[in-house]
Symmetry: C2
Subunit: 209 residues, 2 copies
């Protein structure tokens, strides 16, 4: 009896914020592996080591839990990119660092990427939110391209807004596709991938190693 008592763990009351992060970690893992529809709140609760009623109490239904995951992973991704890019750098260097930070995020947070990209994208309640996020990313990229494209010389083909938009969509699509490729090739170096993409799609920039 004494032995049993001494091995009883001391339950500490964890701060709400810490518990929430634990639940989100578990939710991202389970959603990423099972998909939104097949994921069960039981498995998420069990993985987080928290009772199911408490998961519901903290984060509501499966739908609100998925949205909370989406927001956390999306915010982390944007913070990683914004943190790597400084407005003082030359624009092409901004893009290079942004790409590296993005692929670095995907390499380090495969589960988060799966939830963001492979799942949220076409689930009806979430697709709109994702599309908005993507539109903001495209706008940022179009701004970078606008600043970085050589000013068209007199008489040359004018760089027009639609061209910039098309290029930005192409670049974002290429980047997403490679992020997916990266998440299936765990041994690839995210920095190297960023360089490959810069070299393949940035013809007005001298190739770098």
């Amino acid at each position: 009896m004494l032995a049993r008592m001494s091995s009883t763990p001391t339950f500490k009351r964890l701060p709400r914020a810490v518990r929430e992060q634990q639940m989100l970690d578990a939710a991202v893992k389970v959603f990423s592996r099972r998909g939104y529809h097949a994921a069960s709140m039981d498995e998420i609760a069990e993985d987080a080591g928290i009772s199911k009623p408490m998961v519901y109490a903290y984060l509501g239904t499966k739908e609100t839990l998925f949205i909370a995951c989406l927001h956390r992973e999306g915010t982390r991704m944007m913070e990683a990119i914004v943190g790597a890019v400084s407005a003082e750098l030359p624009p092409d260097e901004q893009l290079r660092r942004g790409l590296r930070a993005f692929f670095g995020f995907v390499g380090a947070h495969r589960d988060g990427w799966t939830v963001l990209y492979r799942q949220a994208r076409s689930e009806q309640p979430f697709a709109g939110e994702l599309a908005d996020m993507r539109t903001r990313v495209v706008e940022v990229v179009a701004t970078l391209l606008r600043r970085n494209l050589p000013v068209p010389a007199e008489g040359s083909r004018e760089v027009r807004e639609t061209d910039l938009e098309v290029m930005a969509y192409a670049l974002v699509g290429a980047t997403e596709s490679l992020a997916d490729w990266l998440s299936d090739h765990p041994s690839e170096d995210p920095e190297r991938l960023a360089t490959r993409l810069m070299n393949a799609t940035w013809p007005w920039h001298p190739p770098s190693k």
Copy 2:
């Protein structure tokens, strides 16, 4: 009474293949507008002008109906591309025609594209099938790139398989992203979009109008 009788339509027994295409047309339309989960067999039957039991009799459950849509639209897309590309053409011309045919398909079959890309992609029973389709497309593109890249000169950086794979994924991702953009910009010309993409991402090829 006579008037009423004379206006009674003559029901013709349509061949099974024709009826099936009508059902698939209706299904692609409804799936594309409502999404897989919200689409109802009632609406599909009504849109096709066919009784619901007959839809079930011909094409089975909602799941098998969706798979039938996926196969028809995927086959149409591949046929459009393969029909436009001839092995006798120079490889860059093959790619250009392939891109035009692809964007032409998306422009003309918006509903089909929505079902293929926006919906099937992350629905659990269908995602695997789509991923296989995409892998085959990437392989075709990698083969085109391999033939079209300038043979590396002695001592220059070797064009390696991973580079080709990365480029192919980047190009396919860019193309998909622009197909999505195209389906939101109905007034854009698919041929012009193909040219824009060629010019933006095919640096070893002289720009064309």
